[in-house]
């Protein structure tokens, strides 16, 4: 931790700190920094929510951010979805063929896609494309005093910069996830039926039998959380950017890494909760 150092000019008779003390100090410092960051992000998110419900963002700013987050991400998300579907088909086909169940390929591809891989990989891709860009833009604005300029002109930077980006990520990342799911289904179908020659009707029937509305719902619900995480973490990192080009680069990298880790963590928690909810409500009627 910055600020905790050891001096050699200790008074006579005083014991020099040992390796254990260094270790405790380093780890203690990391814990304090971690707790402090969580607190900072919470306060940052709280201020953002207060602004979101008290004053509507300008239409121009909102549309610009919707365009950057939504429209410009479409190609990369569609491509990601398509390849996930095709790779799933490649990976699963041999295993399923060994036990003579290749006709069931549609079930595993589409179920994995809509429940897990579509939302998580789309969010990961968007954390890289959208999150890093948000952190870099806001970080550059920080180091070039543009955020201070906003403040001096009576505009709250959180209202002006964060709220539109949050809304864009919150609303459009689920939409992009649906696009990734759809393209994944198309990619998986193409590779399974056209390339591997699996029966078209069996593929579709198995997909329809095993993929439920709840799978689709849980995948899309998770993507709302992922969108919120990407927006808040990236804006926070941009706002706390250090000076210079290196500072902006670090902010962009940290935004991606932190978003990615949080996406995986939140995904696990949400899966546990959604599964618990599903089995509590529908499990008695469910059978394979």
């Amino acid at each position: 931790m910055a600020g905790l150092t050891y001096r050699d000019d200790l008074p006579l008779g005083e014991k020099r700190p040992g390796k254990l003390s260094h270790w405790v100090t380093d780890w203690g410092g990391m814990v304090v920094d971690g707790v402090s960051t969580v607190g900072d992000i919470t306060i940052f998110a709280y201020r953002m929510f207060v602004w979101m419900f008290t004053r509507r963002p300008a239409k121009g700013t909102l549309l610009t951010n919707f365009y950057h987050v939504g429209v410009l991400s479409l190609p990369v998300v569609a491509l990601t979805g398509t390849f996930i579907g095709m790779v799933l088909a490649v990976q699963s086909h041999r295993q399923f063929a060994m036990i003579g169940m290749e006709n069931r390929l549609g079930a595993v591809i589409n179920s994995s896609l809509v429940r897990e891989l579509g939302p998580v990989l789309a969010a990961t891709m968007l954390a890289g494309r959208v999150g890093s860009a948000i952190a870099a833009v806001i970080g550059t604005m920080r180091v070039t005093e543009q955020i201070e300029a906003l403040t001096t002109m009576g505009a709250d930077p959180i209202h002006y910069l964060v709220v539109p980006r949050f809304l864009a990520c919150l609303l459009l990342i689920p939409a992009l996830t649906i696009m990734a799911d759809f393209m994944g289904i198309v990619g998986g179908y193409f590779y399974s039926v056209i390339v591997l020659g699996i029966d078209h009707a069996a593929y579709l029937q198995n997909s329809a039998d095993f993929v439920t509305g709840y799978d689709l719902f849980s995948g899309i619900l998770k993507s709302f959380f992922f969108g919120a995480i990407i927006a808040i973490v990236s804006c926070y990192r941009g706002f706390n950017c250090q000076a210079g080009a290196e500072g902006v680069g670090q902010a962009a990298t940290a935004a991606f890494v932190m978003s990615f880790v949080l996406i995986l963590g939140v995904d696990l928690v949400l899966n546990i909760l959604l599964d618990a909810f599903y089995y509590a409500v529908w499990a008695p009627e469910t059978s394979l």
Partner: protein
């Protein structure tokens, strides 16, 4: 009323309007009153117990070497940096005690010209200059256009420049756009952060002339942070010199000079005269000693 009649007029008989009384009182008190301001960043003290009053209509230049806290003081004056101790009073109101909404309204009365202009990259020049109007006023498109083009013309920018983006114009043009943006709402207090840094001598003088023209055309109070002595002498009617806190004894004041620009050359303090003349003097040896002390301190940790 003719001058003769004015002499005969009995001012005592006229009942004073409370608003007028308020105006008279306001005219007497400083527009900015900095009282015992200390600013610390973590363990580092940048400003310590600064007292400074700025009268209405005054153009104050804050000079001093890099790292002495000029910009921090200026940002504290406009409420961008909250003081660790002390108060900043703007037009009779303590900036530390007013609500967020009041602060936003108060900021309408400030104009801030940033060192590197701080123009919004994503907007063209027109939108940059129009931004404060859109934030604070409900004006029609034609009115906004008229005001923006007039302000751009005042700072010597052609109408074609309005549609360009900040990355497409020169440093001097960016500074002038920054000035136009700061003046668009006709603020009462304009602060300039290093307005001539990085400009050629001609463009520096253009900026100086624009600062003077602003003072002539509007009833504005100005604070100019600079280490360009030509700018300080030309635009200011009062100069304050700050000295880095870390190089002073605990009981020494950080403000080495407070007077008119013409008194700078005859200042009692040797450090002021050296700064004004741009003489390094013993500074290089001081820097070497400071570096050695830091290295020794680091080696001990």
């Amino acid at each position: 009323m003719t001058p003769d009649k004015a002499e005969e007029f009995d001012f005592q008989s006229v009942p004073l309007d409370p608003d007028t009384l308020d105006d008279v009182a306001k005219a007497d008190c400083p527009i900015v009153d900095v009282r015992g301001v200390t600013v610390r960043f973590e363990s580092q003290t940048i400003l310590k117990e600064i007292d400074l009053q700025i009268q209405r209509g005054q153009t104050l230049a804050i000079i001093g070497e890099s790292g002495c806290g000029k910009t921090v003081l200026m940002k504290t004056i406009v409420g961008l940096i909250p003081p660790s101790e002390g108060t900043v009073i703007f037009d009779g109101r303590d900036l530390g005690r007013i609500s967020q909404q009041e602060m936003t309204r108060t900021r309408r009365r400030f104009g801030f010209v940033f060192q590197n202009a701080a123009l919004f990259d994503s907007m063209n020049i027109f939108d940059n200059v129009a931004f404060p109007i859109l934030q604070h006023e409900k004006a029609s498109d034609s009115e906004i256009e008229g005001r923006v083009m007039e302000k751009l013309s005042e700072v010597g920018l052609p109408p074609e420049a309005a549609m360009k983006f900040p990355a497409e114009i020169s440093g001097g043009m960016r500074k002038r756009v920054g000035l136009a943006r700061a003046l668009i709402l006709q603020p009462e207090l304009v602060v300039y952060d290093e307005p001539t840094t990085g400009l050629d001598p001609i463009m520096s003088d253009v900026i100086n002339e624009l600062i003077l023209a602003t003072r002539r055309n509007y009833p504005v109070t100005s604070v100019v942070v600079t280490h360009d002595m030509r700018t300080a002498r030309k635009v200011a009617n009062r100069v304050v010199m700050l000295y880095p806190r870390r190089r002073l004894q605990a009981d020494q004041s950080q403000m080495l000079f407070d007077g008119s620009p013409s008194d700078l050359d005859h200042a009692d303090d040797r450090r002021v005269r050296q700064f004004v003349r741009g003489e390094a003097g013993e500074r290089i040896n001081e820097l070497i000693r400071e570096t050695a002390a830091i290295s020794q301190s680091n080696a001990g940790t």
